[in-house]
Symmetry: C2
Subunit: 333 residues, 2 copies
């Protein structure tokens, strides 16, 4: 049950009985391209706006995950989902037709962790037999929301990441076949006063360090107890900061660390600078790359730590800093 | 535990051991003015931007609720909170200093219901000893986010509601003195195809009807089992639609129905048209007006059903409809 200051341990951890990932063309051309369930070449996903495209992306991913679990939407008691857009419109219009009771979540790019934590609690506590946890992002809807019109063709510094067009979803159930969620650590907001929205890795790294540190303390473990410690979208800049922050606290995770944002694109051929980002980045890489390795037993225990940068164009333009938050989910074979 | 299709019943319901409400000047001049814990005359709350003002509002409310429960922030294991702004910036910058592990939630004006549902589950399941559930809105930050610059002085149709500057927070605990949360019903998205963002009551009423209907069915109760059925911010237009929708399903709640948006302002003197709205409306009225009546035993059992309209300026300008969602929380003496 309650473990340390910010964690929960599940004795009979909820199972991930189904999972799916759907991504866009660029992600399909990356190193993990052939691992995703579905690569959609049309960035509009057959719709008329970027936001509708992201909604369609969520719907396809949810349906695929439910189908892969051998279920129908009626079998899912609760849906926990979110995206990066103001007022979660990609989620609202994406999941509406599924007609599943909904908990809308916002944790920036940490949302998949938040959705899995709360989903695992609902299942573990007997409040739901099956839930669906999901998060998405879309390059073009995110650029429109946070940065510049695509037509403007703005220059991006090397510290910038590229928002992934992707969505990942997991079906959690009390019993069944699949990896188990055995523990969670809920992050708090960490603000180091950084103000560079083109360097989100640096903004989020301190929060990742805080959550990883708190997690290891709460569970009385070291990094060696994990086959992988997997951050969401720190990218190459954020990764270095994370390792340095942890080193200062006497924790070395160099051997175990993996970042979904670094894995999803090829730095030499895809021109994505520091890597991928967006809540669809960690969610889709989790489903396509991480869970199969846990399922096969190649990795016995991993810590999934998606990280979020808490900003909006309004807060940024008003001169506010960019705080971060990170949530940890332990997944075991 | 699980009750019917979308509900949960708590055998030993979590207690509301502390609650607080803070509002702005206009709300303080309304019929409930002397019931709020604190009325701030400065709409900027001593800050430089509307968003910072709302953050300050959240911080004061959280601290007041925690203090009234006889606790300090360190005693609270999780914070569940949200607001109406894109990327929840009022919440992020409002609660940061409290340093409590955070679940960020977005349910539009239904957020207080979502925060109380998940908070009650965390406490009931033994995952937390104490949590804080909170939601806020601010008239000026919401107008800036969703409508027109205040300086523009736009005309508002009579179906429009006035976003409440207010915040409500409750501290939930396993034991202690205070009203109990004995059940919850999680809403699904209901879309009747309405597109008028100046008539949010009409957009949300079908969702309220759906949740109330599902709730009564799940718990096998009638409206007579409740002293009050309290919607969030339907206003006078939405109220009529709700009553009609339920009447068509053979449910009459006319005697029990109360709407926080109708209660908070005086229609004759405050020029707020259809009433108040915003997630701070139901949250502050719950704390100031509803909970004291349950605590005193005047009301034995109420159903609190805050309602949210799921739109953003982007979805609205792209011609999307305005779907609604509503969550139900049963509170007993």
């Amino acid at each position: 049950m309650q473990k340390g200051k910010s964690s929960i341990e599940f004795e009979n951890g909820p199972r991930i009985i189904g999972h799916a990932s759907v991504v866009g063309k660029k992600e399909g051309e990356g190193p993990l391209g052939n691992l995703f369930d579905f690569v959609e070449k049309d960035p509009m996903f057959g719709t008329k706006t970027w936001e509708e495209a992201e909604s369609r992306l969520q719907k396809i991913t949810a349906e695929t995950a439910i189908h892969k679990a051998g279920l129908t939407p009626e079998d899912i008691r609760y849906l926990l989902a979110g995206d990066l857009l103001g007022q979660l419109i990609a989620t609202s219009f994406g999941v509406m037709e599924l007609q599943i009771p909904l908990f809308g979540l916002y944790g920036a790019c940490s949302t998949m962790g938040e959705a899995m934590m709360l989903g695992a609690i609902l299942v573990d506590g007997g409040y739901a037999d099956r839930v669906l946890s999901m998060a998405s992002s879309h390059f073009a809807s995110a650029e429109k929301q946070f940065r510049f019109p695509l037509e403007y063709g703005n220059q991006r510094p090397f510290s910038a990441t590229w928002t992934v067009t992707g969505c990942g979803a997991v079906v959690l159930a009390k019993d069944g076949d699949g990896p188990k969620i055995t523990g969670v650590t809920t992050g708090k907001i960490v603000d180091m006063g950084l103000k560079d929205s083109m360097n989100m890795g640096a903004c989020m790294a301190p929060a990742a360090a805080d959550t990883i540190c708190q997690h290891l303390k709460d569970f009385d473990r070291t990094s060696k107890d994990y086959d992988r410690i997997i951050t969401g979208d720190l990218g190459v800049v954020g990764k270095q900061i994370l390792l340095k922050f942890l080193e200062e606290k006497g924790i070395n995770i160099e051997e175990q660390h993996m970042d979904c944002g670094i894995e999803i694109f090829s730095p030499s051929t895809q021109d994505t600078h520091a890597g991928g980002s967006g809540c669809g980045c960690s969610a889709s890489v989790l489903s396509a790359y991480v869970l199969p390795r846990v399922r096969s037993g190649e990795w016995k225990r991993v810590l999934f730590v998606p990280t979020g940068a808490l900003l909006s164009t309004v807060s940024f333009n008003e001169g506010q800093s960019v705080p971060g938050i990170a949530h940890g989910v332990v997944i075991e074979a």
